[in-house]
């Protein structure tokens, strides 16, 4: 199917010529997200400038039966925000207004294109912030976070995006607007907010998002510990979690990753000779209480075999430690033309064994793997550097990724903790869900989008679904 000129003309009439992109060079910008291995140009990209324009565009697409892909900043890592030549990408970055900050109710209402970190900046004068903090938070949008149910280092204590979304206004693929949830967050009927968050743009587009804000902690302590092996670092993670202390963040980086960061402009002073480092952050409402918890965590780290444990002396040092962690993907990106950031989850106690096996798998494929990840919740990010211009490298990366996924599934884990399924993880879905469960997911998608036009071809592998309630493969 080709997108009819008449439809594109109607869309241009809504948004103006400047905000519809059709030239191949322009479309190339939208041909991938943060995952370089999935490349596909859409027929056109439209950038509505208001909610009303967005509604009109979706209704024109519905009228002509045209598939579409909603896209935020394109920082996703699963090939989820990419369309094909028969579809239109709807870029939401111009819908970037913070509509309300309500400090009394610790609540904000935003448009989907608001950049994650901008919300926390806007809430800061009120002593509040928005907790989910993906590493891409200086670029990624709240709408994209909702679609992917994004996480981040501080989700260990405060929960992922779905824990913070109170209410949504969405536009369904048929062009109708629906309000889900209620202002205070109590479901109004079944929990459709919970269902919508993480639906990867396949149920519709969030046009307004009400989120919970949290009080800024009054005290923060950040510790850096180095370990002689991945095993001891993994044991330290388990010891901290078992103690009952819930750190705000508990992150691990292996030696490969530390060295790359230390060779970059993001150098944070991490020890390059350690097999692994842990960053542990504790926060709370009292300096004394957080200091006491930090002392207990320091003891646990040392008892688990940490070489040295260093506490950030001031806010500047803390920011430096975090910059190294959050910009690690950027640092890794500079050492090879291409980088795949994988995403999987394993039970925390399986971390040491799984990490060692990941190293072996990568070595078997002649690839270098660097790990930087959310150790506190077992959310791994093995990074594979490669050069697709070299014969066979892309194929080896794909096969290596598949083996890593199978390993994590066998360990009792999941194929994605925060990046989503998109197109990249489609092939693994039948490994963790049976045909009935996949068919149920597809059937639910068809409740929201009977024509299956919204971000088609993602998340649920149609061939693996059992025939179910009128849903046929």
């Amino acid at each position: 199917m080709n997108v009819p000129e008449q439809a594109l003309g109607a869309i241009e009439g809504v948004v103006g010529r400047r905000w519809i992109r059709r030239a191949p060079a322009e479309l190339e910008t939208y041909a991938t997200d943060g995952l370089p291995t999935r490349h596909s140009r859409p027929c056109a990209v439209v950038l509505p400038g208001s909610r009303q324009e967005l509604v009109s565009v979706v209704r024109i697409l519905a009228h002509y039966g045209i598939p579409f892909v909603a896209r935020g900043a394109g920082t996703g890592l699963s090939g989820g925000a990419v369309g094909d030549r028969d579809s239109v990408v709807i870029g939401l970055t111009r819908l970037n207004r913070i509509l309300l900050i309500d400090p009394r109710n610790r609540r904000a209402v935003v448009e989907p294109g608001v950049v994650n970190v901008r919300l926390s900046e806007a809430a800061r004068p009120y002593g509040l912030y928005y907790a989910p903090d993906p590493s891409s938070q200086t670029a990624c949008t709240i709408g994209g976070n909702v679609a992917e149910n994004a996480g981040g280092p501080h989700c260990l204590k405060y929960g992922v995006t779905s824990s913070h979304v109170l209410e949504l206004e969405i536009i369904l693929p048929d062009g109708s607007l629906v309000n889900l949830g209620s202002p205070g967050g109590e479901p109004w009927g079944p929990d459709l907010v919970g269902l919508f968050v993480g639906s990867e743009g396949m149920f519709g587009i969030a046009t307004r998002i009400a989120v919970r804000l949290l009080p800024l902690p009054k005290a923060v302590r950040t510790l850096l510990a180095d370990f002689p092996s991945l095993k001891t670092a993994g044991e330290a993670v388990s010891a901290i979690i078992a103690s009952g202390i819930v750190p705000a963040a508990l992150e691990m980086m292996d030696q490969n990753c530390v060295r790359v960061v230390e060779e970059s402009i993001y150098a944070a002073g991490y020890p390059v000779d350690a097999a692994a480092v842990l960053i542990v952050e504790l926060d709370g409402n009292s300096q004394e209480a957080v200091a006491a918890e930090a002392a207990e965590v320091e003891r646990l780290l040392k008892d688990s075999g940490a070489g040295t444990v260093r506490m950030a002396a001031d806010e500047r040092e803390r920011e430096r430690l975090w910059q190294g962690r959050k910009k690690a993907f950027g640092a890794l990106g500079r050492i090879s033309p291409d980088l795949v950031v994988q995403d999987a989850v394993v039970p925390r106690t399986a971390l040491p064994e799984v990490l060692e096996k990941i190293s072996s798998i990568a070595a078997a494929y002649g690839l270098k793997v660097s790990n930087v990840f959310h150790a506190g919740d077992g959310n791994l990010h093995p990074n594979l550097n490669f050069d697709r211009r070299e014969p066979d490298q892309l194929s080896r990366v794909e096969r290596c990724s598949a083996e890593i996924m199978e390993l994590c599934i066998k360990a009792g884990g999941s194929i994605t903790g925060e990046h989503g399924v998109g197109t990249d993880k489609l092939r693994y879905m039948p490994l963790i869900f049976d045909g009935d469960t996949l068919a149920a997911m597809r059937a639910v998608r068809r409740v929201f989008d009977p024509q299956e036009r919204a971000n088609r071809g993602k998340v649920v592998p149609v061939h693996a679904c059992r025939e179910w309630s009128g849903v046929t493969a």
Partner: protein, 406 residues
């Protein structure tokens, strides 16, 4: 149409063999206790093809086992702890286990589910199906935050297993959240993967007595100071204004954190405060949670914290008496008492105009049937909910009234 009770019992016995106990309830209705989720699936699949209407029962200590149907399926023979993994803080538990029994088994291993649902002698399945979060929803989130995965047998008899056993997981659509709090309208939950936490070092309750207005002001002042307690509950035995209200604040965590929070909260509070620890604290909370099951109706109203006073006034205006527990930071009120359906309907209408949903958490059948658990929805949501029900229960087997019958 179903055959006679005797015929139906014969069919069920033939279908399930030794995989289930079959008896009749006190009214002579056939009742089946499957011992496997496949047994549940077989009954529902047969019900779908035969046109039987099915009632789901737990312990009947929250929602009464009074819905008219051709047969009842009880989850009480699915009551085991399948897997308990304290190091990874996850447990797989069958839905028919009693909450108190589960809590004790977990405590024996130094772990807990950070929730305190209202009522007593309830099954885990009932708590999840009704999303009955208690006061701890303020600090630990609603019940849905604690369910990592589940097994749902749909009305059509399909077994689906969304979610997983790890704390972070975005693989596939979140059907776990759809099933949580849907009152069993999409199927029967047979087992759950629960997120556990280590039992905390310290657990302290502060109680402030006074009138409703003064205590609400205290709570909002604490919120403005950035307080983040595990629970902050405004408790009233009667809706009418008086001095018999309590603001109960629960602090959970390390000794150092709890002590620091206690001091910072004391610096904000203007009314005299008493402290409860150990058994007296446990008894205090248990009393309030169990009290909510002592009258026949429980409603849950959602609001903004700043509109809490308005919401309580609204309840007092439309309903008489009753017990109130309001989680102020979480914007949620639970009311238990007695009221005719038309009064609740008028309340719901008035609340909806203020964007406050009123859910019927529990009530006798006549009232549930008349009002529905959710009543009316926001525009467009009813259409989605109905389509979801058709998807999971195309033959309309499950007797679960969600909508107002008007």
């Amino acid at each position: 149409m179903a055959g006679t009770g005797v015929n139906l019992i014969r069919k069920l016995r033939a279908l399930l063999g030794t995989g289930a106990t079959v008896d009749t309830d006190p009214n002579g209705m056939p009742r089946v206790f499957p011992r496997t989720e496949e047994g549940v699936a077989a009954v529902l699949a047969t019900a779908s093809s035969e046109g039987w209407r099915v009632r789901v029962e737990g312990s009947a200590h929250w929602i009464p086992a009074d819905a008219p149907a051709d047969l009842a399926i009880s989850t009480r023979s699915l009551a085991g702890v399948v897997n308990l993994d304290p190091p990874d803080l996850v447990a797989t538990v069958q839905a028919g286990i009693l909450w108190d029994e589960l809590r004790q088994k977990l405590a024996d291993h130094g772990v807990w589910v950070a929730q305190d649902p209202p009522g007593a002698h309830r099954t885990l399945g009932s708590i999840v199906a009704t999303a009955s979060s208690g006061p701890l929803r303020t600090g630990f989130g609603n019940l849905r935050e604690h369910v990592l995965g589940l097994t749902l047998v749909t009305g059509e008899g399909r077994i689906i297993r969304p979610g997983g056993r790890v704390v972070k997981n975005v693989a596939g659509f979140d059907l776990v959240k759809l099933a949580t709090g849907s009152f069993g309208a999409f199927g029967i939950i047979t087992s759950l993967n629960l997120r556990l936490r280590a039992v905390p070092q310290a657990d302290l309750t502060l109680a402030v007595r006074g009138n409703r207005d003064a205590l609400t002001r205290e709570a909002l002042a604490l919120m403005e100071q950035g307080a983040t307690p595990a629970a902050m509950e405004l408790l009233g035995e009667e809706l009418s204004l008086g001095d018999g209200w309590i603001l109960a604040i629960r602090l959970i965590g390390s000794w150092a954190a709890v002590d620091a929070d206690r001091q910072s909260i004391a610096a904000v509070l203007t009314l005299p405060t008493s402290e409860l620890k150990g058994d007296p604290a446990r008894q205090f909370w248990r009393l309030w949670l169990e009290r909510q099951a002592q009258s026949p109706i429980t409603l849950r109203l959602g609001t903004l914290p700043s509109a809490m006073d308005e919401a309580l006034d609204l309840l007092a205006h439309h309903l008489e008496g009753g017990t109130v527990a309001a989680s102020i930071p979480a914007g949620s009120i639970r009311w238990s008492g007695t009221a005719p359906a038309d009064r609740i309907r008028v309340l719901r209408h008035a609340a909806a105009q203020r964007e406050m949903p009123v859910t019927v958490e529990r009530a006798p059948w006549d009232l549930r049937h008349t009002l529905g658990h959710f009543g009316a929805y926001r525009e467009g949501v009813g259409r989605i909910t109905k389509a979801l029900r058709r998807t999971f229960d195309p033959a309309g087997v499950l007797v679960v009234p969600l909508d107002d019958d008007r």
